[in-house]
């Protein structure tokens, strides 16, 4: 069985057009080139939820647009179900559902149902099929109550769900989601993540490629991911594998009552974030491996303190990038 998505040495360079003023000033000058992707390689297995993690400008959207046949790569190749996106765009489009990050991309004066019916025809569905598929999807996306209202009256969450419904009209095996929770409140985002995992992936077995800059979101729903920065793959593998292999200390949030004075120890450093009477909230940066953490907790207990909570704090995306930059290169994980 071919990979659901395969990117091999994929590259994209945007050539910026020169303004008339610039051409007059330097008639033989070279246009500025911006590398959006360079040597990208990864493989997404059928039925997998795979993440593209990176900050703005890292190349996530360009990568998704190449897979949706909106942008042609300059180098390498990208395959969906074994089909080259640059050569057979119509066959690829039948296999890919693309959810854009732009929530405007509907006709505002049409209802949600009319919008879906129109796009269903563009996906090649017959009239009866388009009607039944539209009804099925508005129910599945919990939009049945508002399906006959104009799109302009929808909330951000509804717009996002309608965008997902649109991408599912032709029942594609592969779904590309470009920051689907970006404009949602935390509760709506949580519901959407659950829907992606339970309905789209587990129940219907779709392969999902999710672009996000939210590490927590990636960890919650992606089996594996690639970390992109300035168009290059920094790491790939599971979130645990990516963060575990990073240099630097692990961070734990501790809530301690009656925190004793602790002797200096090179294996940890403590930062008291807040004191509320005899209760202290501490950010503890501890050497990896677990021994140092055990020793720290024991010292606190031996000193008369009471540990009320201890939880690991995941590094932010920026911290991960900083640590990857600082650390030695690691081989890619399968």
């Amino acid at each position: 069985m071919p990979a659901a998505i395969l990117a091999e040495d994929l590259g994209k360079i945007y050539v910026k057009r020169r303004s008339l003023r610039e051409m007059a000033r330097r008639p033989f000058g070279r246009a500025e080139r911006v590398t959006a992707l360079a040597g990208i390689g990864f493989e997404v297995r059928p039925g997998e939820i795979f993440g593209l993690l990176g900050p703005n400008g890292s190349g996530k959207t360009t990568l998704l647009k190449i897979l949706a046949c909106l942008v042609l790569p300059n180098a390498g190749r990208a395959l969906v179900d074994g089909i080259d996106v640059a050569r057979h765009d119509r066959a690829v489009k039948r296999r890919v559902g693309f959810v854009t990050a732009d929530e405007r991309s509907f006709y505002w004066r049409l209802t949600g149902r009319e919008n879906l019916h129109f796009f269903a025809t563009l996906y090649g569905l017959g009239a009866a099929q388009a009607r039944s598929r539209t009804s099925e999807l508005v129910s599945a996306m919990d939009l049945a109550g508002v399906a006959d209202q104009q799109f302009m009256s929808y909330s951000s969450g509804m717009k996002q769900r309608l965008a997902i419904a649109r991408a599912l009209l032709h029942d594609p095996p592969v779904l590309c989601l470009d920051e689907p929770t970006r404009s949602l409140d935390p509760i709506a985002a949580k519901h959407l993540r659950r829907f992606i995992v339970e309905e789209l992936n587990a129940r219907h077995g779709r392969t999902i490629l999710l672009a996000t800059h939210n590490l927590q979101e990636a960890e919650e729903i992606c089996g594996r991911l690639v970390v992109l920065d300035r168009g290059r793959v920094l790491r790939q593998g599971s979130v645990a594998a990516i963060t575990a292999g990073l240099p630097g200390r692990e961070h734990y949030m501790l809530r301690v009552r009656d925190l004793p004075d602790l002797p200096d120890d090179a294996r940890w450093s403590l930062g008291v974030e807040r004191r509320d009477g005899d209760l202290a909230r501490i950010d503890a940066a501890v050497d990896r491996g677990g021994v140092a953490l055990s020793d720290l907790l024991r010292r606190i207990l031996d000193g008369g303190g009471t540990i009320q909570a201890c939880s690991r704090r995941e590094p932010s995306l920026q911290e991960i990038f900083d640590r990857i930059d600082a650390g030695p290169a690691r081989p890619e994980e399968p």
């Binding site: 909106l70 119509r90 489009k93 854009t100 991309s105 996906y123 090649g124 009239a127 649109r166």
Partner: protein, 269 residues
């Protein structure tokens, strides 16, 4: 079959959007009434005798009524393609359509189709007002020939319109071609006055515009009841325009789409 179904979906979409602006929809037709009324009184002031060169024995009001009505087709064919592409880019719906397996050509054609349908209604309203209110005699004997002339005119101007859409996709800016051709057509193409009435050095430019032949043939067919054979020279000229302009437009559009995909600027504006 699938293409027809898709085009029908575009028509339905644009009809629903159009009628959602009810007042504007009604006012468009009211505007036609005003326009015809204005030109009726202008023609009374002008009072050009039917012997005027180029009027071919026609009453000036009937002459200008046909010119006005069919100039809408020219505008629709030239402005609609680029205008719709631009509009879909701005509203973000172009990207949503381009990720579907429907071809770019069908998307552009479908997006413009409603404008042609609406224009056809407007032309019918123009002619009906002229006939019922102002007594202009319309001959319906050569209706089939009229449709042929109209189809060729729309195709010829669509070539320019599609070229304009290609420029919008590639350059992201309004192109100078359509406004130039539209202005020249209004100036030289016999919309408001016969080109024969102009100085020879200026009137000669009308020979290079498809609208000259289209209006000449349509006036002869609808106002004088001329037969197909009499319209043939104009039809041949229009076929030549279609043979040149349409392939140029389509090739330019294909090139623009390819370049925009390479540059990643397909949905930028």
């Amino acid at each position: 079959m699938r293409v027809l179904r898709t085009l029908q979906a575009f028509l339905k979409r644009d009809f629903l959007i159009e009628v959602s602006y009810r007042t504007s929809f009604v006012l468009q037709f009211l505007g036609i009434m005003f326009s015809v009324l204005i030109w009726f009184y202008i023609s009374r002031v002008v009072a050009a005798p039917p012997t005027t060169p180029g009027l071919d024995g026609l009453d000036y009001f009937a002459y200008v009524l046909l010119g006005l009505a069919f100039f809408h087709y020219l505008s629709a064919a030239m402005m609609s393609f680029a205008g719709k592409v631009r509009n879909e880019q701005v509203t973000g719906t172009l990207e949503a359509m381009l990720v579907t397996p429907t071809s770019v050509g069908t998307i552009v054609l479908g997006s413009s189709l409603w404008d042609f349908v609406l224009t056809s209604f407007k032309v019918v309203v123009y002619l009906l007002v002229g006939w019922l209110v102002f007594g202009v005699v319309i001959h319906l004997d050569s209706l089939l020939s009229c449709f042929l002339v109209l189809a060729l005119t729309v195709l010829a101007f669509s070539g320019i319109g599609i070229l304009s859409a290609a420029l919008i996709l590639y350059l992201k800016r309004g192109d100078p071609i359509t406004s130039l051709v539209a202005s020249l057509s209004a100036l030289l193409g016999g919309v408001f006055y016969p080109p024969e009435d102009m100085p020879a050095w200026l009137g000669i430019g009308s020979r290079f515009l498809p609208i000259t032949y289209a209006l000449h043939a349509l006036r002869r067919a609808l106002l004088r009841g001329s037969r197909f054979a009499e319209l043939l020279p104009d039809i041949e000229a229009l076929v030549l325009f279609v043979a040149v302009l349409l392939p140029v437009g389509l090739l330019a559009f294909r090139f623009a789409v390819r370049k925009a995909r390479e540059e990643g600027s397909l949905v930028q504006y």
